[in-house]
C-alpha cells in the first residue's frame, strides 16, 4: 500500500502542464526516431539527450523515457508496414505482422502490436512499482563486495547468455571497462592511460561514446544500405481497434506468458531480443495450429511485442533499484541520470522520492498517451519515410555533434564522437556487440570502486566474495552464468534438458 501512496504522489509531481507537454514532445520525437530507418530507442535517447540538459531531472527523465516508449511504438510501424525491423527485437514481429499487412490487415496488425506493447509495458511497470522499492531497501544492506558481486553477475550474464560469440562479448566489455578507467583515478588522484594528453584528463564521457556508437554509426550503416522502401498504407479506425480489443481475452495466456518472459529477461540482462523470440517461439509451440504462424496470425504479433516491451521496461527495474541497467537503453538513461547528479541505486528511493515516483508515474501515463497517440497518427508517422534521408542524415549528424559538445563544452568530444562512430560501424558489421560495451563504460568506475573497496577491506583476499551467504550466492551464480553455454551443453549431453534456441522461426 505504501507503494500505491507513493505512486499517487508521483502522479501529483507529474501532472503539471509543463511535464505533460514534455511527455507529448518526447513521445512524438520517440515515434519519429522509431519510424526513421536505422534509428531506434537507444539512438533516439542518446541523440536527443542534450535537449534535456537544462531541464530539472524529473522533467528530463520523463521526456527521455517517453522518447524511449515512443521509439518502441514507432518501431512496430516499419516492421509491419515495410517488413523493416527498426530494432533486432522487432524481427519476430515481422514474421506475422508483415503477412497480415499483405493480406490487407495492416490496421489490425498495428493495433495488435501497439496494444500488446502497452500490455507488456504495463505488467513490467506494475512489477517496478511494487518490486523496486523492496529490492532497493534490501540493497541498502549491501556493502562493496555485494555490489561488486552484482556487477560481476551483470557482466557474466551478458557473456554467458548473449547470442554473440563469447570472445566478442568479452572484447567489447573489457574495452568498455578500460575506457571507463581513462583519466584521473578517483581513489588516488593519479592519472591513468592518458599518455600525456590533457584532453584525456577528463576521461572519456560515456554519453559522447554512446552518441558516436549509436548515432553516427547508424547513419553510416543506414546510408550504406538501399533506402528504397515500398510498403503498405494504413490508417486505424475505431472499429478495427475495438474488434482487436474485443478478442484480447482469447489470447490472455499468450499475453501473460510473454509478459512473464519479458519481465524475467528484462531484469536479468537477457534483453528484449531474446524475449521477443522466446515469446514468439513459445506461442508457436503451445499453439494448436503452429503451422499457421508466419502466415499472418495475430498471436504472432501479440507474443513478441508483449515480451519485447515487458523486457525493455523491466530493464529499468535493476537500473532504478540497484544502479545496474538491464539493457543498452537503460544504460543510456542511467548516464542521463548521472548528468543531473543523480546516483541510481538504492539511495535514489530514499533521497529523491519525487524523482523516482514521478518517473514511475510517467511510465504509466506515457504508455497510455503513447498508445492513443500511435493509434491515431499512424498515417502521419508512416509518411515520415517520404522525407528524403539525404535531408534527415545531416540533421542527425548535427544533433549528435551538439549533444557531444554540450556535455562538457569540449571540441575534442566532437572528434571523439566521430571516432566512436567509426568504431561502432566496424563493430556492428563484424558482430562485436555494443550493449556490453555501453554497459561496461557506464558501470566501469563503480565496479572498480566496489572491487577496490572490497579488496582493501579484506586485505587482498578474494574469499571476501564468498564471505557470507548473500555475496557467495551472487558470485557463484555469476560464475555459473559465465560458463552457462558449457553447463547447458553438458546438461544436454546427459539428457537433462533440451537445447534452448531463440532464433528458430
Amino acid at each position: 500500500m505504501e507503494a500505491f501512496g507513493l505512486l499517487l504522489h508521483g502522479f501529483a509531481v507529474l501532472l503539471t502542464g509543463k511535464t505533460l507537454v514534455l511527455m507529448m514532445v518526447g513521445l512524438v520525437l520517440g515515434i519519429f526516431v522509431g519510424v526513421l530507418p536505422g534509428l531506434g530507442g537507444p539512438n533516439g535517447v542518446a541523440i536527443l539527450l542534450p535537449l534535456t540538459f537544462t531541464m530539472d531531472p524529473t522533467s528530463a527523465i520523463v521526456m527521455l523515457s517517453c522518447i524511449y516508449w515512443g521509439a518502441l511504438f514507432g518501431g512496430a510501424i516499419t516492421s509491419i508496414l515495410f517488413n523493416i525491423p527498426g530494432e533486432a527485437w522487432s524481427v519476430a514481429t515481422t514474421f506475422d505482422g508483415y503477412p497480415m499487412a499483405q493480406q490487407g490487415r495492416a490496421a489490425e496488425a498495428l493495433t495488435a502490436a501497439f496494444t500488446s506493447s502497452f500490455i507488456g509495458s504495463l505488467v513490467a511497470v506494475l512489477l517496478i512499482t511494487f518490486l523496486a522499492p523492496m529490492i532497493s531497501s534490501f540493497a541498502l544492506k549491501f556493502g562493496p563486495p555485494e555490489f561488486f558481486a552484482v556487477y560481476l553477475l551483470t557482466f557474466c550474464s551478458f557473456v554467458g547468455l548473449g547470442r554473440e560469440a563469447k570472445h566478442k562479448t568479452v572484447i567489447s566489455m573489457s574495452l568498455g571497462l578500460l575506457l571507463a578507467g581513462i583519466g584521473m583515478d578517483t581513489v588516488s588522484g593519479q592519472l591513468r592511460m592518458t599518455f600525456g594528453s590533457s584532453e584525456l584528463l577528463r576521461g572519456i564521457n560515456f554519453l559522447v561514446a554512446v552518441i558516436g556508437l549509436f548515432g553516427i554509426s547508424e547513419i553510416l550503416l543506414t546510408m550504406e544500405e538501399r533506402l528504397a522502401l515500398r510498403g503498405h498504407a494504413a490508417s486505424i479506425s475505431l472499429r478495427v481497434v475495438l474488434s482487436v480489443w474485443k478478442d484480447l481475452p482469447k489470447y490472455w495466456v499468450t499475453l501473460l506468458r510473454s509478459s512473464f518472459i519479458g519481465c524475467w529477461l528484462g531484469i536479468t540482462p537477457g534483453g528484449a531480443i531474446a524475449a521477443s523470440f522466446m515469446g514468439y517461439n513459445l506461442a508457436k509451440r503451445f499453439s494448436k495450429d503452429p503451422e499457421s504462424f508466419g502466415k499472418g496470425r495475430i498471436e504472432g504479433v501479440f507474443a513478441p511485442e508483449t515480451a519485447a516491451h515487458a523486457s525493455g521496461t523491466a530493464a529499468l527495474l535493476p537500473m532504478l533499484a540497484l544502479g545496474i541497467p538491464g539493457s543498452g537503453t537503460a544504460a543510456i538513461l542511467l548516464g542521463g541520470l548521472m548528468v543531473w547528479g543523480l546516483n541510481p541505486g538504492p539511495l535514489l528511493f530514499v533521497e529523491h522520492k519525487d524523482f523516482v515516483w514521478g518517473l514511475i508515474a510517467s511510465m504509466y501515463l506515457g504508455n497510455v498517451v503513447g498508445l492513443v497517440l500511435v493509434l491515431t497518427t499512424v498515417p502521419i508517422f508512416a509518411s515520415i519515410l517520404r522525407v528524403p534521408f539525404a535531408a534527415v542524415a545531416p540533421m542527425i549528424v548535427v544533433s549528435c555533434a551538439i549533444g557531444a559538445y554540450a556535455i562538457q563544452n569540449a571540441m575534442f568530444d566532437i572528434w571523439l564522437m566521430l571516432g566512436f562512430g567509426v568504431v561502432g560501424y566496424v563493430f556492428k558489421k563484424i558482430g562485436i556487440p555494443l550493449a556490453p560495451f555501453t554497459l561496461a563504460l557506464v558501470l566501469g568506475n563503480r565496479a572498480e570502486d566496489a572491487f577496490r573497496l572490497s579488496m582493501i577491506g579484506s586485505g587482498g583476499d578474494l574469499k571476501v566474495f564468498w564471505s557470507n551467504g548473500l555475496v557467495g550466492s551472487i558470485t557463484t551464480l555469476a560464475i555459473v552464468l559465465l560458463f552457462w553455454p558449457a553447463i547447458d551443453g553438458l546438461l544436454v549431453r546427459v539428457g537433462w534438458t533440451q537445447r534452448t534456441g531463440t532464433t528458430s522461426r
Binding site: 499483405q102 547513419i219 538501399r226 517520404r386 549528424v397
Partner: protein, 180 residues
C-alpha cells in the same frame, strides 16, 4: 497483392548496385580489428603497469584493475585473431562492397569536414554548410530547398540551444560579427 495497393514508396536514386565488387571481406577486417585491439591492450597494459599494477600499503594501486582488464582484452583479441584466421579458410562474407563504401564515404567525409569546419567557423556555420551541401550533392535536392532547410534547421538549433536553453555552442567569426 497488386501494385496499386502499395501506397508508400520511397525511391533511392543513388542506391548501391547489388553486383558491386567487394572491397574487403569481414574476415580481413576482423583480423585488422583484433590486431589493433591487441596493440591497444599492450599499450594500455604497459601504461597501467607503469602506473602501478600491484599492491601497496593502502591497497590496490591505480593500475591494478585496468592492468588485468588489459590482459583480458589482449587474450580476447588473440582468441579472436586465431578464430578469424581459421574462419578465413571457409567462405568469408563481404564487409563492404565498392558501391556501399562509396556511400559510406559520402557521409563520413562530409561529417569529417563538418567537424573540421566547426573548429574554425563554429558549429552553426558548419551545420548550415553540411545540411545544404549534403542535400544538394548527395540527395540531388533542389538548391533553394537545400538552402532553406539548412537555414531553418540551423536557426532553430541556434534559438533552441544558445538562446532558449543557454547551452553555448562553439562559434566562429560570423557569430562574433553579430555580437555573439
Amino acid at each position: 497483392m497488386s501494385q496499386t495497393d502499395l501506397e508508400i514508396a520511397v525511391e533511392d536514386p543513388t542506391a548501391p548496385e547489388d553486383d558491386s565488387p567487394a572491397v574487403v571481406s569481414s574476415g580481413t577486417v576482423e583480423i585488422i580489428v583484433c590486431l589493433l585491439l591487441l596493440a591497444l591492450a599492450v599499450a594500455l597494459g604497459f601504461d597501467n603497469w607503469r602506473t602501478g599494477a600491484s599492491w601497496d600499503s593502502t591497497g590496490p594501486e591505480p593500475g591494478y584493475f585496468p592492468f588485468y582488464l588489459s590482459i583480458v582484452l589482449g587474450c580476447g583479441s588473440i582468441y579472436g585473431l586465431i578464430a578469424a584466421l581459421l574462419a578465413r579458410r571457409a567462405v568469408s562474407e563481404t564487409f563492404v562492397t565498392r558501391a556501399q563504401a562509396r556511400r559510406v564515404m559520402a557521409v563520413f567525409v562530409p561529417t569529417l569536414l563538418f567537424c573540421l569546419v566547426t573548429q574554425f567557423l563554429g558549429l552553426y556555420v558548419a551545420s548550415f554548410l553540411l545540411i545544404a551541401g549534403f542535400m544538394r550533392a548527395i540527395g540531388k535536392i533542389a538548391l533553394w530547398k537545400s538552402l532553406l532547410t539548412a537555414f531553418l534547421f540551423t536557426a532553430i538549433m541556434f534559438v533552441t540551444f544558445d538562446i532558449a536553453f543557454d547551452v553555448i555552442m562553439p562559434k566562429g567569426p560570423l557569430e562574433a560579427a553579430f555580437g555573439y
